[in-house]
């Protein structure tokens, strides 16, 4: 089992750097796109939370999990997958703590991306 505690999976980041082939703008743009999407999805999560809308909450979590996998934000993906799993129970209701858990992991990604910018 691979163990790491960085916000971005180092192996996946290596793969993305290989793909970038020295073009810093590619990585900058990729993470900017990811974080921009994440902002939109957080807004959808909050909207679904306010409406108590389990289906939209789960779908938004899935979207963010999917995007997170592609940029190596595996902890964000993990939190989102756990939300999807929890929302598969018909009696479950979205909670503020779930959104906060996603935001907390996203904050770590933002910090990691800022570090990438000077690496």
């Amino acid at each position: 089992m691979r163990v790491f505690d960085t916000a971005i999976d180092p192996d996946l980041l290596t793969g993305l750097r290989d793909l970038a082939a020295g073009d810093r703008a590619f990585l900058d743009d990729l993470y900017a796109i990811y974080l921009d999407q994440a902002d939109d999805i957080i807004a959808i999560l909050r909207h679904a939370l306010a409406d108590g809308d389990r289906a939209h909450f789960s779908a938004a979590a899935h979207r963010l999990a999917s995007a997170s996998l592609n940029v190596g934000a595996l902890f964000v993906a993990g939190v989102c997958h756990s939300i999807e799993a929890a929302m598969s129970d018909r009696s479950a209701r979205p909670s503020a703590s779930q959104v906060e858990a996603v935001e907390k992991e996203l904050d770590r990604v933002v910090s990691a991306v800022a570090t990438l910018a000077v690496a």
């Binding site: 590619f26 974080l35 921009d36 999407q37 995007a67």
Partner: protein
Amino acid sequence: MNNVESADLYRCPSCDTVNLAAANDWCLCTNADQTLVCAQCSSCFCDAGAEWKRDFWQKASPELHTRRREERSGCVKLRLVTQTPQRPVILLIDDDRTVHSIVLRVLEGFEGTLLHAYDGETGLRMAQDFQPELVITDALLPKIDGREIARALKSDPATANGKVVVITAIYKGERYRSEAMREYFADDYIEKPVHADKLRIIIASMIGESATRRAGAGR
């Protein structure tokens, strides 16, 4: 520099003219995230730095964000109404723009046309219109499921010869791969995260090595 002065007024990074975003068209660039065209110099801001673009979109109004989501899928199609796409054509359908960015990079140097769609309905329509040699589609999509797109294309004689690859983040394992290939007639099935090397191999196997020989050259 602060590039957004007030509600969607921004300075063009090329000519410094102040533009009203609501009045500008989307550019026709073939990247995953088209931007607005300056009314003065006709330059888009696709090549502006990531920080500039992030600042722009962070400060843009909800109306402009909505317009961006609703209109962007059709940008490439609008251009191609009057142009014949160079073959082979690959259509990528995914609501995750990071996938578009990665696939675009993987296909750098590709001697064909990459079309982008961000929901299933638009993607299916584009596939029917342009009959791509290869459709790469996410499994779970807004409006129409990617696996249903695969089934629809394979059951239509006009599009049945095109290859379809389904990508997914949740349906993992041999069981789902077999199901996608058997029940939805997908030609291949790949799991997220999308790895560039794996994607290159699959694309080459689907549309031929020659079409992708320049893609990824030197990497």
